[in-house]
């Protein structure tokens, strides 16, 4: 009987040490679920969800303190992707957070800009170039269309511009399902 206890005890010790070692050696940094949710979000950092950025919203979804339908820039695509990821039912976008709209960027009217740098401080992705008392310009290719720079502007010189489809960004439409069903 003693031998059995010793053998089992040794086994328990060996596996305990092994598991302990693995837990330290292969420790997962951060919360992988938050990372996964964050990857699905559109990264506009606009705060329309009620959180100060995409990562905090991802954190809130992971903690189940926020719902998956609070991201207007992501819209339906993001909601479906989140529902897939978290194995939940997709639901329509919460109207309290805003409406899904086409992609936009902002544009600074350089004639009116007084160079106050307030928009530069407001931009969550540093996509506005300029300095105090110097004209500011939006780096259009980096702008996510979060519109966070608009409220601080004291002279209202920031304009929202829709991203128009060009011949290069044009793509084939999905064939009309209605025409197909009509038979």
């Amino acid at each position: 009987m003693f031998s059995a206890i010793i053998v089992l005890g040794l086994l328990a010790l060996t596996f305990g040490l092994l598991l302990g070692f693995i837990a330290i050696k292969f420790k997962v940094e951060g919360d992988p679920l938050v990372e996964k949710i964050d990857a699905v979000l559109p990264q506009t950092q606009c705060g329309q969800c009620g959180y100060p950025g995409c990562k905090p919203y991802a954190q809130a979804i992971a903690n189940e303190t926020a719902d998956i339908n609070q991201c207007p820039p992501g819209g339906e695509t993001t909601i479906i992707a989140l529902a897939d990821l978290l194995d939940r039912e997709p639901k329509p976008l919460n109207p309290e957070n805003g409406e899904e709209s086409g992609k936009t960027v902002v544009y600074i009217d350089e004639q009116t800009c007084i160079g106050c740098t307030l928009c530069i401080q407001a931009c969550p992705i540093d996509a506005i170039a300029g300095a105090a008392k110097q004209m500011h310009t939006v780096i259009e290719s980096e702008c996510t269309g979060c519109n966070l720079c608009i409220p601080p502007c004291p002279v209202d010189c920031i304009i929202i511009k829709p991203v128009n489809e060009t011949i290069d960004s044009w793509q084939w439409d999905k064939p009309n399902a209605i025409a197909e069903a009509k038979s």
Partner: protein
């Protein structure tokens, strides 16, 4: 020598309709009232205009230069004035406008002075040949418009095994390559020899479908004149899409181009017939690419091939061919299998326009797409697919937007040839689904990249804000510490009587002086009795007045008054 040919999977036998346009003699298209030249006529970056509005240009003069490696310059197709540089409708499936250069011809058709290169191409270094081809703005004339000079790079080996000249022209209706082979076999063969030299190709095969016997005989005769055994012409069976690059390579060599790979990776290069003729014109005559053969066919009175200057509006070509039989339903650019429909005729011919096909409302030649029945899983599409794919699975996944699965079924190997569409008994627009799926995957990929950049930028922004805060706090702390140290030092100085700081010393000296001044005798000292009496009187008087006023407004003027008096 090619001993036996290989049969690629699938393919369809389609009605040819090539008789419509092949019998008429090729004639040059009439000089139009204006030429509209899109800046983007090829795969790669759009060219950049190098002329200004109002400038006079000569035929063959460069009007837009290549922008980057994968790009091609554009030349003036005739002499005239630059009328405008701006957006005009072009032949693109989106129906949108794009930047174009408009030339108003002066009618002289005067050539710019051409730099004729040695008639003996073999003395020219291959890399120099490539440069001439590049400067001539030559792109693949088969339909894709890939800049030719890039294809003419044999790679690190310095040579390629097989150069295949594509004369199969498998799409119905189109006969421009057929006409070119009949009209100019010598130019084509010269062009082939130049490309062979540029590529250092060991073996050249001119592949012509067996429905073009005249063209085959013409090329064969021209080849016989040169007596070059490494170049041979072969007839390949007529089956659509035998002229597609990958299928043609398989037919001729039995080799498959691996996935996500180019023919050059298996030491094969494919060139279109039209491109070879253009290369000949560029090397032997110094002429840039400014015109091509275009088949004008379909529901028109005299379908034929025309030699068209780029930028010529299609409606003028249709007029030259006797006009439309009835009213236009749509215009198809390219062939009926792979072309795209446009709904206006005032569009310019560009480098890749091989065929202009008119579909009239009155004709029943084209299968219309007004309705589609459900997929019955008959499998005909899989039998017809020349790429060996399973079109119906791709269709399901594309339709339900399960793009990952569509990619698992090798969506990107689809060449969009339209065989599956053609055989589908339910008339489902399959290729359109694949195009949609491909575009959507690209779009999502781009969005993903963009959001990743935004994330990185946001993280850096947060890091920067934190860093600046920390820096500010650190600065503040340092300042405070310095101030404290100074104060401490001050106290020490006073205690020890040291005057280390000159500033402090100056202040101290000033203070000393003020003290000394205070000690000096004032004018109130050493007064006579009479003066003292007067002062006392005045003081008493002032005190009286003050008492009266001080009830309402108490002041501290006492000290001042006493000093001043």
């Amino acid at each position: 020598m090619i001993k036996n040919l290989f049969k690629f999977p699938g393919g369809v036998h389609v009605s040819q309709f090539k008789d419509l346009s092949i019998h008429e003699k090729v004639e040059p298209a009439k000089l139009p009232s204006k030429l509209v030249l899109p800046l983007h006529q090829h795969i790669g970056a759009a060219a950049e205009p190098c002329v200004e509005i109002g400038e006079l240009v000569l035929k063959g003069q460069k009007i837009a230069s290549a922008n980057g490696y994968v790009s091609a310059p554009i030349h003036a197709p005739t002499s005239g004035t630059i009328e405008d540089i701006g957006d005009y409708p072009i032949a693109h499936p989106s129906g949108m406008s794009a930047p174009c250069i408009v030339i108003k011809p002066d009618g002289d058709d005067k050539w710019i002075e051409l730099e004729s290169h040695a008639s003996d191409y073999s003395s020219i270094d291959p890399s120099h040949l490539r440069n001439i081809i590049r400067r001539a703005g030559i792109v693949g004339l088969g339909g894709a418009g890939f800049p030719t000079y890039i294809k003419h790079n044999p790679g690190p080996d310095g040579s390629v095994d097989t150069l295949i000249i594509n004369g199969s022209e498998c799409e119905p209706y189109i006969t421009c390559d057929d006409s070119l082979m009949r009209d100019r076999p010598d130019e084509i063969v010269c062009g082939i020899r130049i490309i062979k030299h540029a590529l250092n190709a060991k073996h050249v095969v001119v592949a012509i479908e067996d429905n073009k016997p005249e063209a085959f005989q013409a090329i064969k005769k021209a080849l016989a004149d040169f007596d070059d055994e490494s170049i041979e012409a072969v007839q390949i069976p007529t089956i659509y899409p035998a002229g597609s690059e990958k299928q043609l390579i398989y037919t001729v060599t039995g080799k498959e181009v691996p996935q996500n790979s180019l023919p050059i990776n298996i030491s094969i290069v494919c060139q279109n017939i039209g491109t070879t003729a253009a290369v000949y014109r560029a090397i032997n005559h110094g002429e840039p690419l400014i015109s091509r053969y275009v088949t004008v066919t379909g529901d028109i009175h005299q379908p034929k091939n025309l030699e068209v200057l780029f930028g010529t509006p299609i409606n003028e070509l249709v007029d030259q061919c006797g006009g439309v039989k009835g009213s236009v339903r749509r215009l198809i650019i390219g062939g009926p299998m792979m072309g795209f429909a446009m709904h206006q005729l005032n569009l310019p011919v560009i480098k890749t326009t091989n065929c202009v096909l008119i579909d009239a409302k009155e004709s029943k030649a084209f299968k219309t797409r007004d309705f589609a029945m459900p997929c019955i899983r008959c499998g005909s599409c899989a039998e017809a697919c020349p790429a060996g794919l399973i079109p119906q699975q791709l269709y399901w996944y594309s339709k339900s937007q399960e793009f990952d699965k569509a990619q698992d079924y090798n969506l990107y190997d689809c060449i969009e040839c339209g065989c599956c569409d053609y055989v589908c008994p339910s008339k489902i627009p399959l290729v359109q689904y694949y195009r949609f799926a491909k575009a959507e995957i690209w779009k999502r990929e781009l969005e993903m990249q963009k959001s990743n950049t935004a994330r990185q930028r946001h993280e850096f922004h947060q890091f920067r804000v934190e860093r600046e805060k920390a820096e500010k706090a650190e600065k503040h702390r340092q300042k405070k510490a310095a101030l404290q140290a100074k104060e401490n030092a001050n106290k020490d100085d006073i205690k020890t009587g040291k005057e280390a700081d000159p500033k402090k010393a100056a202040i101290l000296a000033a203070m000393e002086r003020a003290k000394a001044k205070k000690a000096e005798p004032k004018n109130t000292d050493n007064l006579t009795e009479a003066q003292k009496k007067l002062i006392a009187e005045i003081d008493a008087k002032r005190a009286k007045q003050r008492n009266a006023a001080s009830q309402a407004k108490p002041t501290n003027e006492d000290s001042k008054d006493s000093n001043n008096s």
